[in-house]
Symmetry: C2
Subunit: 299 residues, 2 copies
């Protein structure tokens, strides 16, 4: 099996995640070659000019031809569609990874790839609310958990190579089954997005009768609502491909919100304080794996 340094890596999709990966691979000289594949010709020129890739193309076939590792970095359903297209054109022995935010549908599509290629699902747990090529930055993956979801057909060598790649750019590989990943991220990623959206709608409603609400909004609103500014298409794909888990988490949250509402309405201060203290202690005790970057906090 090849080591990362011997590999040609083709990244499909030069948005925030794909480009940030290219920058790390290139700047740290981690592999033999970094290729970028995107439909956007302007991005091709920029990526090449800004030395984010060794080779850039809008042509999928030539982009993946002879690549040792192909990494799909597009919204979830575009990954699923892309896997259909890639099946017939991938060279035997290619390792196919992705960075999609839900894993069950992607891994099912990966399992339909020819038996000559080696698929493994992946999801680096980082990002920010700004999307696209221009938002990319080197070091984005530093300290972030990177979930790997091998298929039954995935070899130990492929898992090892994927983990090597994650570690090489500072991420922490964690291996688990796709369904477990999807259940966990429904709670800590997809639910916060829906909450943030509902919060922004609520403040927006206030703003219709009194727009001073936007003037007063400070750090609490800023942080609680931040992810609502995320790319809508990306999150739509996430929600639709993880519907059941998200609905289940929404219902659990709704139960807690209703309980808080009832305690406040009934003026049951002791029970309210006890419930608030429980979340206060849990949140204060938790330390995120990856500290916030300036760019994540600035808005």
């Amino acid at each position: 099996m090849k080591t990362l340094s011997e590999c040609s890596v083709a990244v499909i999709g030069l948005g925030l995640m794909g480009t940030s990966l290219c920058l790390d691979l290139k700047q740290r000289n981690l592999c033999r070659e970094v290729r970028g594949v995107t439909r956007n010709f302007t991005t091709i020129l920029r990526a090449f000019h800004e030395n984010a890739v060794d080779l850039a193309t809008t042509d999928l076939s030539s982009g993946v031809a002879g690549a040792d590792i192909v990494i799909l970095s597009t919204p979830v359903r575009a990954v699923v569609r892309m896997l259909e297209t890639l099946g017939p054109i991938l060279w035997p022995g290619t390792v196919v990874m992705d960075m999609g935010s839900t894993k069950a549908e992607i891994c099912a599509a990966m399992d339909r790839l020819p038996s000559t290629v080696q698929p493994i699902g992946g999801h680096p747990m980082t990002g920010k609310e700004t999307a696209g090529y221009a938002a990319a930055e080197s070091g984005l993956y530093e300290g972030a958990p990177w979930v790997l979801t091998p298929l039954p057909r995935t070899t130990a060598e492929t898992v090892s190579l994927a983990a090597e790649l994650a570690r090489a750019i500072g991420a922490i590989p964690i291996t688990m089954r796709p369904a477990r990943h999807d259940r966990l991220v429904a709670a800590i990623s997809h639910l916060p997005f829906l909450l943030a959206s509902a919060l922004v709608h609520t403040v927006n409603d206030s703003g219709k009768t009194d727009d001073a609400v936007w003037e007063l909004a400070a750090g609490g609103f800023r942080d609680t609502s931040r992810v609502a500014a995320s790319d809508t298409q990306m999150f739509l794909d996430i929600l639709v491909t993880n519907r059941d888990a998200v609905l289940s988490q929404l219902d659990t949250l709704n139960g807690h919100l209703l309980e808080l509402r009832t305690l406040l309405a009934q003026n049951d201060e002791d029970a309210l304080q006890s419930k608030l203290s429980c979340s206060q202690e849990a949140r204060a005790a938790w330390k995120p794996a990856k500290r916030g970057t300036a760019s994540q906090a600035k808005n």
Copy 2:
């Protein structure tokens, strides 16, 4: 009427907000004298030793005797109780301000002060999830809106002096009625706190069956849940003294959350995308008055 530079300012309560105010007043040499009043003797020693105040005392009467401006910086219901105690001991002509997070109950209590003193409500729209003396920092108020809620009996000179104080430490004074303030902050501050608490409870529930959820939690969870780590007693006072407005905002939010749930459950992608885009655009268009500080973003 005196200008700020001629005033002796007594700050009651040396937690995050009060101490940060003292530090700014002292370090920028903005008034004649800065006094700190707190029940905690250790804090007295630290504040004096660290040059946060010119004079520090545990004795309320001597702390406020002869002060031109008395600023109450404790949780809301402690402010209300303190106003009862202060009534008989304040010197004639004293301006009484506060920094409490809800204004209706405090301003009602202020109105019961002797007619010889000049009360004005206030609420600087900043803070962080860590509380107490040790969390204080100079520059905390820089760029933050500072709501002033004058009473009918408050003179123009008092409003002007309070606004001068806010501006002197870099805040932006905004004058409005107490009920309007309370309605607006229910949406942008109290609601996010309850949401964050419910989110932490939900993730905590997930963690009971699979504690990898805490390992995967990243920037989205970190920011959306941050305010859940805030001081519980402070928020209990806020919720209880702003119950109706908070319940009303909770109901509005719940309507939006239910709508998002229904659209997802019914797989109505167009309507879901349209609703998500609406909050995406509103949040992306909003620029907070005060940019995040490192300490706000770090956890």
